[in-house]
C-alpha cells in the first residue's frame, strides 16, 4: 500500500514535467531553446515525449502491477465478506465491539428473532437467522455491501483503463523503431517517394495521425509523428475533400469548420458522402475522422509586380499557386518569389468614428517570401484592396525578416485611379540622376544672391546626394548622416533643414509631375487631395528604406483552394477504456456513499425472558455508523418490548 501511494505521487510529479515543457515539438525548436548541450541531455532523458518515455511507462507499469496485486489479494476476502453473515461469530467478540448493547425482555428467542429480524429488514438490512448454540438464536444483518464492491470496481477499473490505453498507444511503433524494423522519415518527400521502411500497412493496430487534403484532392494515408520525423500510415480506403467551409460570427470569430468528405472504398456500392465538423466526427470502419485544422490548399495567385527601379516598364505578371516558387528577373538580379499563404479576408479591430471599438475586414492578402541569389529572404504580406487611412487610400504591404517578428507596415498612397503609378513615378524621378540635378539647379537658381558659381555646384551635388539617400534608404539613413557629420548640439537644426531641403526638392519634382505628365492645371495651386498625396508619399518614402524589394507586387486576382486538416484515429482500446471509466465512476460512488455495515442480534433463552445482545460494526465512516447504531438500538428495544 505504501508503494501505491508513493507511485501515485511519483506519477503526478513526473506528469508535471510534460506540461511545463511543450511536448513533441520539432527537435530544432528544442535545440534553439536549450542549446546543443542541454538539448542532448533532455533528449536522453526523453523529456520531449515524457509520456512515452521508458521510465514513465515503468512508473505507470508499477502502478498497474501494484493495483492488480491489490485487487487480486483483496477480492476473495471482499466477496466472502459481502456474502457471509457470519452467524458463527463469538459472543466474546460481539461484546468487544465498540457498538453493542444488551437487554432482557419477555419472550422466546425464535419469536423475538423473527420480530427483530423483520424490523432490521424494514431498516434496509438483509438478514439471516440461525441457531446459536443450544438455546439461542442469532440474526445476522448487513447493508451497503455494494460499498465493498465499489473497491473492486474502482481498482480493477484502473487496470482496465490502463490496458485499453496501452492498446491505443504507439508502443509497438516505438518498439519497431528501436529495433530498426521501421524508420521515421525526416525529409520532406512526395508521398510516392517515402521509403517502404517508413510506411505502415493499413491492417496494423491503433494509430493517431493527421493529413491535409486540398479541395478536389484525396488521400489514402495519414502521417504519424515519431521522434523527429514521421511515418506514413496507409488507410484501407480513400478520402476525398469536396469542399471546406469556415463560417464566421459577425465579430469575425470563427463559428464553424466543416468539410464535405467523400469516402471511396471498394466495399462500398457507391462512395459515402458525409460532412464532418468540430465535435461531429465521422466513424467509418472503426476509423474516426475528425475536423482538426485547415490551411491553404494551393490557391492560385495572380500578382502584378511594379518595378521600383523602372516604373515605366509594364508591370510583371506573376502567376502561381500557394506553395510554389516563381523565378523573377529584376534589374537588381535574380529573385525567387515563394508563395506561402493566402487569406481571403483579414478582420482586425479598429476604432470607429465615434471612438468605440469595431471590426473591419481588410480583404484578401497574400504572403510571400522574396529570396535573393545568396539565399537571404524577406517575407511580405500584401493586401489586395485599397486600405483607407484618414481621407486617403493606400496600398498596404508589410515586411519582416523572420516569422517571429511583427510586420513593418508600409502605406503606399494611391492616386485618383486607385493606382500606384503616380507614387512609383515620383519615386523614380527622384532617383533619376539627371532629372534630379536639373531640378536642384533650377531651385538653386531661383534663390537670389548666390554669385559664387562654384558654391551652387557643390551645394547642388550634396542636395542631390541627400535626396537620393532619402529615397533609396529612407529617413533613417538621413538621420545617420546628420549624426555622423554634425556636432550634437546642432543635429536637430541640421536635420530640420535637411528635411526641408528634401521636401522642397521632392515637392518641386511632384509639381512638375502633376503638370507635365498628368496635365493638371495648377493655376490655382495644388489641390488639397494632391497636397495630401504628397505628404503621404513623403511618409511612405521615409519608411521605404528597409522595404528591400525591387518591386511592389499587387494581388490582382485569385482563386481560393482550401485544404482541410483531418485527424484520423483508430483506437481499438477505446471501448475498453470507456468500460473502465464506467466502472470507475460507479465504483467511486459505491465506495463513498454505500457503507458496508454488519449487525448481529443474539437472543439467548433465560427462563421466561430472553437476553438480547445487539452489536454492530461499520466499515469506514464510523461517526455516522455510531449514530445509526444508537437509532437502531432504540427501535429494536421498542420492538422487543412490544
Amino acid at each position: 500500500m505504501n508503494l501505491a501511494i508513493t507511485l501515485l505521487v511519483a506519477v503526478s510529479i513526473a506528469s508535471i514535467i510534460g506540461t511545463v515543457l511543450q511536448q513533441n515539438l520539432p527537435y530544432n525548436d528544442y535545440v534553439i531553446k536549450f542549446g546543443p548541450f542541454w538539448f542532448e541531455v533532455f533528449n536522453a532523458l526523453g523529456l520531449y515525449d515524457v509520456y512515452g518515455t521508458p521510465w514513465f511507462l515503468v512508473l505507470l507499469g508499477l502502478l498497474l502491477v501494484s493495483t492488480t496485486v491489490c485487487v487480486f489479494r483483496n477480492t476473495p476476502a471482499i466477496i466472502r465478506d459481502m456474502r457471509h453473515f457470519r452467524l458463527d461469530v463469538q459472543t466474546k467478540s460481539l461484546r468487544s465491539f465498540r457498538h453493542h448493547a444488551e437487554w432482557s425482555v419477555k419472550g422466546a428467542p425464535s419469536e423475538l428473532a423473527d420480530r427483530l429480524g423483520k424490523q432490521l429488514k424494514r431498516d434496509g438490512y438483509r438478514t439471516r437467522q440461525g441457531d446459536y448454540g443450544g438455546n439461542a438464536r442469532i440474526v445476522g444483518a448487513m447493508r451497503g455491501s455494494m460499498g465493498r464492491l465499489g473497491y473492486l470496481l474502482s481498482h480493477s477499473a484502473i487496470v482496465i483503463i490502463c490496458i485499453g490505453g496501452l492498446m491505443d498507444g504507439n508502443l509497438p511503433l516505438k518498439f519497431a523503431d528501436s529495433t530498426g524494423k521501421i524508420r521515421a522519415e525526416t525529409r520532406d518527400l512526395p508521398i510516392a517517394n517515402v521509403p517502404a521502411k517508413s510506411v505502415i500497412a493499413s491492417d496494423s493496430g491503433s494509430f493517431r495521425g493527421t493529413v491535409n487534403i486540398p479541395e478536389g484532392s484525396s488521400a489514402d494515408f495519414v502521417y504519424l509523428g515519431l521522434r523527429d520525423g514521421y511515418l506514413v500510415q496507409k488507410l484501407p480506403f480513400e478520402i476525398a475533400l469536396d469542399e471546406f467551409r469556415i463560417e464566421h460570427y459577425p465579430t469575425g470569430q470563427p463559428k464553424s469548420y466543416e468539410s464535405d468528405l467523400i469516402i471511396f472504398d471498394e466495399e462500398l456500392e457507391e462512395p459515402l458522402r458525409k460532412t464532418i465538423a468540430v465535435n461531429h466526427p465521422l466513424v467509418y470502419k472503426g476509423y474516426a475522422i475528425y475536423q482538426s485544422s485547415f490551411s491553404d490548399g494551393g490557391s492560385r495567385m495572380v500578382l502584378q509586380a511594379h518595378s521600383l527601379d523602372n516604373p515605366d516598364t509594364e508591370a510583371l505578371r506573376l502567376e502561381g499557386r500557394i506553395g510554389q516558387r516563381l523565378p523573377v528577373e529584376t534589374p537588381r538580379g535574380k529573385r525567387t518569389v515563394e508563395l506561402i499563404d493566402f487569406k481571403p479576408f483579414n478582420i482586425f479591430p479598429i476604432e470607429e468614428e465615434d471612438g468605440s471599438e469595431g471590426q473591419k475586414n481588410f480583404g484578401p492578402s497574400v504572403i510571400f517570401r522574396l529570396r535573393d541569389a545568396s539565399g537571404e529572404a524577406l517575407e511580405y504580406v500584401n493586401y489586395m484592396q485599397p486600405v483607407p487611412r484618414g481621407e486617403s487610400l493606400f496600398f498596404l504591404s508589410g515586411v519582416r525578416s523572420t516569422p517571429s517578428e511583427p510586420y513593418q507596415y508600409l502605406h503606399l498612397p494611391l492616386d485618383e485611379n486607385d493606382s500606384l503609378k503616380r507614387f512609383l513615378r515620383l519615386r523614380a524621378k527622384a532617383m533619376e540622376m539627371n532629372h534630379l540635378q536639373t531640378e536642384v539647379a533650377a531651385q538653386l537658381a531661383s534663390m537670389a544672391g548666390s554669385a559664387d558659381a562654384e558654391l551652387p555646384q557643390k551645394v547642388a551635388n550634396s542636395i542631390v546626394e541627400l535626396v537620393q539617400t532619402f529615397v533609396a534608404e529612407g529617413i533613417g539613413a538621413v538621420v545617420a548622416r546628420v549624426e555622423s557629420s554634425a556636432p550634437e548640439a546642432e543635429q536637430d537644426a541640421a536635420l530640420k533643414s535637411f528635411v526641408n531641403v528634401i521636401q522642397n526638392t521632392l515637392g518641386a519634382i511632384y509639381v512638375d509631375l502633376l503638370a507635365e505628365e498628368e496635365g493638371k492645371d495648377l493655376g490655382e495651386g495644388v489641390s488639397a487631395a494632391d497636397q495630401r498625396f504628397f505628404e503621404d508619399a513623403m511618409n511612405a518614402l521615409s519608411l521605404m528604406g528597409s522595404y528591400g524589394s525591387p518591386f511592389v507586387a499587387q494581388l490582382t486576382d485569385f482563386e481560393q483552394v482550401q485544404a482541410s486538416g483531418l485527424q484520423i484515429t483508430k483506437s481499438p482500446g477505446k471501448d475498453i477504456v470507456y468500460l473502465g471509466c464506467v466502472m470507475l465512476m460507479a465504483g467511486v460512488f459505491f465506495m463513498f456513499y454505500m457503507h458496508h455495515r454488519r449487525l448481529w442480534v443474539r437472543i439467548e433463552e433465560d427462563g421466561e425472558n430472553s437476553r438480547i445482545l445487539f452489536a454492530g460494526t461499520g466499515h469506514r465512516n464510523r461517526g455516522d455508523f455510531g449514530k445509526e447504531f444508537q437509532r437502531l438500538q432504540r427501535r429494536l428495544k421498542a420492538v422487543s418490548d412490544a
Binding site: 501505491a4 501511494i5 506528469s15 506540461t19 465579430t251 477504456v577 470507456y578 470507475l584 461517526g623 432504540r634
Partner: protein, 392 residues
Amino acid sequence: MSVPHEYMEEPLEQPHFLKRLGLFDGLWAVLLLAGTVYTIANFSVLMDRYEVGILIGTGLALALFGWAWKPIRPLGLAVAALSLFAVWAYGDTLAAAETDFFLKYLFSSQSAIMWMSALFVMATAAYWFALVMGSTFSGKVGTALTWSASTMGLVGLMVRWRESYLISHDVGHIPVANLYEVFILFAVITGLLYLFYEKRYNNRAMGAFVLTVVSAAVAFLLWYSFERGAHEIMPLVPALQSYWMKIHVPTNFVGYGGFAMAAMLGVAYLLVDWRAAKNPQSAFVRRMPSLDQLDDLMHKLIALGFAFFTVATVLGAMWAAEAWGGYWSWDPKETWALIVWLNYAAWLHMRLTKGWRGKPLAWWAIIGLFITLFAFLGVNMFLSGLHSYGEL
C-alpha cells in the same frame, strides 16, 4: 451552541424516503415535470437528442435533490420566478436592460451577479462577526445572505443564458463557457455546499472560513469584470459547441467546490487545533465544530469532490474523444486534471488505508487546493494547450 443535528432525538419509526414526501414535494415534482415538458414541446427543435436527454436528466435530478434537501425547492422556485420575470422584462430586445428599472438594477445578468458578489461579501463579514463576537443573530444573517447570494448568482446565470440568445441566435449558449461564468458557478456551488453542511452540522462558525474562499472568488470575478471586461458575452468557438459542455463543466465545479470547502475546513482544523492546545475553553474553540467533526467533514467533502471530479474527468475525456480526436492526449489540462485526481486519490488512501487523521490531512487538503487552483487557473495562464478557453 453547537449541538450536532444528529444527536437530537429522532422519531423511532422513520418511514421510507418516498413516504416522507409531502404536498410541497409533489408540487415541486409537478412543476419540474411541467417545465421539462414545456421546454421539450417548444424548444426541442433547437436541441439534439443528447440535449433533450440532459434536460430530462436535469429535471429528474432536481426533483430528487429537492426531495432529499428541502431548501432546494424554495431556492429553485425563487430562481425560476425571478429568471422568468427577467426574461419577460427583456422581451426580445437586449436594450430593455438600459430602460427597465428591474433589469437595470436587479435582474439583468450583470446586475444580478453584482448583487451576488455584494451579498457573498456581506455574508462573509456576517459569519466572521458571528464567530468573533459570538452573535447568533449575525450568524443567522450570514445564512440568509448566503442563500440570497446563491439565488442571485443562479438568477444571473439563467438570465445571462437568455441574454446570449438575445444577442443573436447563434451566439446563444449555456453560460459555463469561460472563466468569468465558471467563477460564478464556483461561488454558487461552494455556497450551496456550505449551506447543506451548515444545516447538517448545525454550526455556523465554519461559514466564516468557507465564505472567505467564496469571497476570494468574488474578488477575482470583480477584477476580471472591471479590469478585463470579461462579462461581455462572447460567441462560442467551434470546439465548445457541444452538449458535453452542459454536463462536463458543472460536474467539474461540484468537484472544485468540494475541494475548496475541504481546504477551508483544513484551515479551520489547524486553527482550532492550535487554539485548543493553548486554551481548550477559548470562545473560538467552543464555537467551532469539534476537531473530530471537522476532520470527518473534510473527508466527506474530499470524497464528494473526488467522486464528482472523477465523473467530470471521464466526461471530459469522452468529449475530448469527440472534439480533439482522442480521449487522452496528455494535453496540459488533461494532465493537470490527472495530477489533481492522483493527489486526492493519495489523500484518500492515506486516510482509508493508513488511518491518517487530522493535522497532516488538513495541511494536505490546503495544498490540494493550490494544486487544484493551478489545474483550474494556472494551466490557462501559463501553459498552452488545446483547453485554452479561459485565458487571462
